[in-house]
Every structure is written in C-alpha cells, then in structure tokens.
Amino acid sequence: MTGTVLDTGVLARFVYTEAELLDERRLEEWTALFAEDALYWLPMNSRQADPGDGLNLVLDDLPRLRDRVARLTSGLAFSEEPHSRTSHLIGSVRVLDRAEAGPIVAGLPVADEEYVVTARCVVGRNRRGRTDTFHARVAWILRPTAESFEIVLKRVDLLNAADPLPVLTFLI
C-alpha cells in the first residue's frame, strides 16, 4: 500500500454507508457514490480478474448503472415491481495490499492513492412474501476525494454465482 496509511475503520464506515443507502433505497445518493470511470460488476467466476474476460451477471459502467437505476425505479421493471427490500450485513472488512488484491482486480488499473477493500456480505432480500439470503465477497476500489471516497469498482462475487440463479434484478 502506497499513499497515506489509513485506519481500516474509515473505509469500513464508507462501505457500511454505501450498503445502508441501498437498504434504505436512496438510489440517487447511492449512484452518486460512483466515480465517472466506475464499474459495478457481478462476475460468474470468482477467479475472473478482467471484467471483459467472461460472461458476467452484471457489467455496468456509470451510464449503464444510471440506466439500471432508472429502469428499476420506472415502475415498469416488473421483476422489481413491487420492488425488493434488502438488508446487507457486512463483516470481515479488510484493506488489501496490491499483491493480495491482484487476483481480484488484476484487469483494472489501481492508482497509488486508491484503496482495495474486501468484505464478506450476507444480503437478505424480501419480495412478495418471500425472503432469500445471498452470500457474497464484495470488493471495492475506493478513491479518496476531498470529503470522503468515490467508488471506482464494486465487485460482487456471489457464493452461488455459477449455479442456476433466481432473478437478481435488485441492487446488491
């Protein structure tokens, strides 16, 4: 890790807040956390290092992520109408050094001042009388800004990403 050595707690608080915005469905504020060059990425293979290398569940740049949110809030994205309610529980937050981060973000440039953070995440999703649980490793590349951080990458590796999956149109 180059740049300023930072208390893991500062980064952890940021990712907790990110999840809270999703769970409270404050989606405009959530989208605003992402950098202009951001990627929101759900691969199907946890060993995939380059987002373009395989078939993904989601690979959004910022314009596409805005499309996704616009669609989900249009009232016409029927698989989210009525919409899912989620509850994110985040644990094992770690700031990785470049060597450890390599296999997760090798396909992406990471600037010296940026941090690679991973966590384990349990997401409950309730919709139409049913609650499902999803488990994931989440990785972020976070870029310091004047006030806080912006998200350069949010990568979600679902534990069951390679299995047949139910519809996953909610934001995770």
């Binding site: 669609r71 016409l76 698989s79 996953l168």
Partner: protein, 421 residues
C-alpha cells in the same frame, strides 16, 4: 386416464397442463423419451474425451466425444447401485468412475473395472454398462439425443423450413462459424417449463413486458426501435413437429447498431474494429454483434434467440431451469466477441434488463393458475387468418398471432395423446 383433447384445444390450454404432476409424468415419457432433445453445441465437446453433463427430461446424461471421435450420450447412473458416475458440468475424461464402490466405465459406456470381481459373476463386465442413449445426431453443430431408437433422422424431424431458420440464425455473424461460450446464464423458475416454450416465440409480449428496456434504449440512443410487433411485414410461423419462428424481416439494423454504441467500453472497441475491418465492412460487423434478429424454436427444448442457444430443462411440474449460452464467432476480431458478450449481458441473464421480466410473468402466471374460476389459457390470436406458405409445411401470420403456440400444442397433443409403443 387423462383425455388430452380435454386438456389442449386448438386455441386454448387447460390449467392442469401446467400444474398436474400426472401430465408432467406423461410429458417426460411421451415427449422427452420419445423425440429429439437438444443437448449441446458440438464445440462444447470438441476434443476426444470432452464431456458435458445434461438432462433429457429428468434423465441425467453425459454427452461425451469418444477416443474414436464419435459423440455418444450415456446415462449418468452407475449400473450397480445408481450413483452418478460424473459429478462435473464439463471436463475431459477417458473413463468415468463411480466413487461409491469404484466401478469404472470407459467413456463409451463399457464397464471396464469392478473392484474385487471374484465376488461377481464372471460375465458382469459384458452384461452391465452405462445405458447408452440410442440416437445422437447433429445438425449444423447442434447436438440432439433421443431415447427412441426409431425416431426419424434429425434432419427429417427438423424439416426444411426449420432448418432454413436454423441456418439463418447460425450464419448471422458476417458468415463466421460460431462456437459455444464455456459459460451460460442459468435461471431458475418456480413454474412449468412450457411457459418458457411459449414465451420464447411470443411476438406479442415484448412491447408490454419489455417496455422498460425499450425506454432505456430510446433515452440512450435517441432512437425508437420499433419492435417486431409494430412492423406489418413481421411474421409468426409454425412448421412441422412443433418447430416455430418469429421473423421481423426488417432490413434495417441501424437502431440495433445504435444500441451497441451504448455498451460499456464500446467506443474504443468500435474504433479498433473499424480500423481492423475497414469502413466498408464496419456496419456489417457491428450488425454481427446483435444476432440474426429472429427467434427460432425447436420443439421441445431448444430456442435460438439473440446470439444465444437457449435450453429448457424441466425439473418438475412447477420447477424449470433455463440455460442461455452465448455463441462466439470463430477467428473473429476480439472486439467483435467482446461486444457480443456485452450485448448479451444487457438484456439476458438473471440480472439483465429484459429476461428477468419474462420470468416475473412466469411467476405471475403460476400464481394466477392456482385459481379454478377459469380453467383456460387462450391462444386464439389470428386464428382463422393464417396463411400457408408454398413449402407445404409453414403456417404464418402476423408476428403477434399465437401461431407458434398453437403449433407447439398441436405437437404436444400428438405426442402426449398417443400411447408410447
């Protein structure tokens, strides 16, 4: 005994067809054990020893290329005590060993190893083996299997009209041969498999179910894509044996090409592609990203849509898995295949902008079917207005007509209504 004439009329299908476990049992025997069932694209099993595990109805099978280069399908079940002999979705193996008691089979199904054979009769290895699916045939790289030794040849089963549409689909990418991507999106549904059968060839639903997708695309490209249902030239077709197509017959791919420019990372790749293939052929190549623009249905479990091969896997009367596997162009500029994958991800898969809304409708149909006040699902659009093509095997009409569904259920009734020999 079920009376299929009371379950499937020419223009309506009874709710029991989607809900009754006894109907599902009959389908497994009289459809999936009797006719051709799609298994894989041959590129998934390209080299000797390559295998994939699949199902024919509920029968677990391994499709494997033998050392003699012959494609075989064997039932994935040890002849001894019924354990699976192959646990992986795909791989390469000269033999399969049951891990329960160690019985070993060559990949052509022959039993070659039985631990402690002195306690078995001497002929055990000749007498037992993996059950072989009696027929495996291929058309244009699409591999089908049948448990019915007397099924007509695959080419005859498909017929010239459906073969023509398969050809058109497989030739959609600047004439380059296509190969299966090693990964597929697989989506589960808590509903009967025939909802996907109907929906994949439904030219009526897109403007409604997928309106949010078209809205996003209109906002991004500034262009409104008239979906097939808005085109007077677009047709819905039924061929022999329950095979079907919907065909927009539009000459303009321009709106679809505009969609490609919205894909993440597209700008730089489109520039590179233009330099690589030249300005003259650039538009044709970008057109190759978006697929043939037709939907082709091969009864009962194969659909060719977008750039993917869709396989319907019935699990039980109210559970289904749908697999959508993209096809990649062989010896193509890397940007072309990169864009094809991104284009596929845009609409399809569990988190795409389109396919999940179809699955939501399947759930809603399944819930609506719980009620008994009305027993019927109606497939009467355009009935009596169909025309017959000169080829003698094509019924066609407006793309929103339920011609494909009526064709599918005619075949369903022919198979399910008749005792298996």
């Amino acid at each position: 005994m079920l009376n299929v004439d009371q379950l499937v009329r020419e223009d309506a299908v009874h709710r029991d067809v989607y809900r009754d476990p006894a109907v599902f049992e009959l389908e497994m025997t009289r459809i999936f054990k009797r006719t051709w069932v799609f298994l894989a694209h041959e590129s998934e099993v390209a080299a000797p020893g390559d295998y994939v595990t699949r199902t024919v109805g509920r029968e677990p099978v391994v499709l494997v290329r033998g050392e003699d280069d012959v494609l075989r399908a064997v039932v994935n079940r040890c002849a001894h005590r019924a354990a699976l002999v192959c646990e992986h979705e795909a791989g390469n193996a000269k033999s399969f060993r049951c891990q329960y008691h160690g019985w070993t089979y060559r990949n052509d199904g022959r039993l070659v190893g039985v631990p402690h054979p002195e306690r078995q009769t001497a002929d055990v290895r000749e007498r037992l083996g993996l059950t072989t699916v009696p027929r495996v045939e291929t058309y244009r790289g699409l591999v089908f299997g049948s448990f019915n030794p007397d099924v007509p040849d695959l080419a005859e089963y498909l017929g010239p009209a459906a073969r023509g549409y398969i050809d058109r689909f497989l030739d959609h990418c600047v004439g380059l041969p296509l190969t299966a991507h090693p990964q597929a999106h697989r989506i589960t549904m808590s509903a009967n498999w025939k909802l996907q059968l109907e929906n994949g060839l439904d030219g009526y639903h897109a403007g409604f179910t997928h309106r949010s997708f078209f809205d996003v695309m209109r906002r991004r490209t500034g262009a409104s894509v008239r979906y097939a249902s808005g085109l007077p030239t677009a047709t819905a077709r039924a061929f022999r044996n329950g095979h079907t197509a919907i065909d927009p017959e539009t000459t303009s791919r321009k709106p679809l090409i505009q969609r490609v420019s919205t894909l993440p990372g597209a700008a730089a790749r489109l520039d590179t592609l233009r330099q690589r293939v030249g300005a003259d052929r650039f538009e044709e190549y970008v057109g190759g990203v978006t697929g043939a623009g037709i939907n082709v249905g091969i009864f009962p479990n194969l659909q060719l849509i977008g750039i993917h091969v869709r396989r319907i896997e019935p699990v039980s009367v109210d559970r289904t898995v749908v697999s959508v596997r993209p096809l990649m162009a062989v010896d193509a500029p890397p940007e072309l295949n990169w864009l094809r994958l991104r284009y596929h991800e845009l609409f399809y898969g569990p988190a795409g902008f389109g396919q999940p809304d179809d699955f939501e409708m399947f759930d809603r149909v399944a819930e609506g079917l719980a009620g008994t006040e009305d027993d019927w699902l109606r497939f009467e659009r355009g009935r009596g207005e169909e025309s017959e093509a000169d080829d003698g095997e094509t019924t066609l009409g407006n793309v929103t007509d339920e011609i494909p569904q009526r064709g599918q259920y005619r075949q369903w009734r022919a198979l399910v209504g008749e005792e298996t020999a």
